[in-house]
């Protein structure tokens, strides 16, 4: 264990912004990927299979993600 207190842990020896920034960006991007995929799944479930596909103005963009 290298940390004597929570503030020491957050501070990361003066590199807190860089270290936590990196982990935060990673967390946000991976979570966003999961959320966007879920939204796409929900949207697909709403349009009944065998029926007409639901077209929206940004359907292209959404199918890319």
């Amino acid at each position: 264990m290298h940390w004597n207190s929570l503030s020491e842990f957050i501070n990361m020896g003066g590199y807190g912004a860089y270290v936590w920034g990196s982990y935060l960006v990673t967390f946000v991007l991976l979570t966003a990927e999961v959320i966007m995929l879920r939204a796409r799944k929900r949207k697909l479930a709403q349009s009944a299979p065998g029926g007409e596909p639901v077209e929206t103005h940004n359907a292209k963009l959404e199918t890319a993600l």
């Binding site: 290298h2 940390w3 020896g13 003066g14 860089y18 990196s22 991007l29 299979p49």
Partner: protein, 246 residues
């Protein structure tokens, strides 16, 4: 082949692959959570502080796995796209399409975390050295693949066009990998080589656990995405109507 109990070719057909993927996704999701928890604990509480870089080096535990994933996934994408093109295997093309966004995200993470590590280590967020420039090109290749595919309405034509781009672009992967040897880069050399590990064993194992976590995450999310792509593309197929109704 005939003696094997598992008929591998069977799963090249979306009709058989779709339910199989659905069954194995929870397994990979579980492993993702477990490995991330262990890996993050090791990164912050087990791995010692670096005598030169202090705690700033802890970015490595996310930076290196993300960079590797960006490269591995691109090679995998190119292989699937190539198989889909050469053998007219539509599931392989769908896999390539499903891998692209995840590969792009990992490449982007490696660029951002690298830049956040560059500032304390080198004093700059970005330099146009060979490693960083070639990784940026990898990012553009992913974006190019995604935009090219979504700009062509005929899906099989889109797959073929994407395959050409993916296969030409694969030359960039060895360039990224060897860039630190071929050119004089600001970026440090390989952390791991066949002969030596330049890291403490606990640092190395933390990195490998997070590497595993990223792989499990990538498998789970790509399978989930390929299921959606199957559903979108084969929406009129009778088997899918039955599958969804069931």
């Amino acid at each position: 082949m005939s003696k094997s109990k598992i008929h591998w070719y069977k799963y090249a057909a979306p009709v058989n692959f779709y339910p199989l993927a659905g069954k194995i996704i929870p397994f990979f999701t579980g492993l993702t959570i477990i490995l991330f928890a262990i890996g993050l604990y090791m990164s912050f509480f087990v791995a010692p502080v670096d005598f030169q870089q202090g705690h700033s080096y802890r970015i490595i535990f996310i930076h290196v796995p993300a960079a590797w994933m960006g490269m591995f996934l691109y090679v995998l994408l190119a292989i699937y796209a190539g198989i889909g093109w050469a053998f007219n295997a539509r599931l392989a093309s769908m896999m390539a399409k499903a891998i692209a966004p995840t590969g792009a995200i990992f490449t982007f993470i490696s660029l951002v975390t690298g830049s956040l590590w560059g500032k304390p280590a080198w004093g700059v967020y970005w330099v146009w050295d060979a490693r960083m420039t070639s990784t940026l090109i990898l990012m553009f290749l992913y974006i190019g693949f995604i935009s090219l595919q979504s700009s062509i309405d005929d899906t099989r034509r889109a797959d073929r066009a994407g395959a050409v781009l993916a296969l030409v672009g694969v030359i960039n992967v060895p360039i990224i990998y060897f860039s630190v040897q071929w050119w004089n880069t600001l970026h440090q050399g390989a952390t791991l080589t066949a002969r030596s590990f330049k890291m403490a064993p606990s640092m190395l194992s933390a990195m490998f656990v997070l590497m595993g976590a990223c792989w499990m995450y990538a498998i789970a999310i790509v399978l989930a995405r390929v299921r959606l792509i199957i559903k979108e593309r084969e929406r009129d197929a009778p088997w899918l109507v039955e599958e969804v109704a069931a």
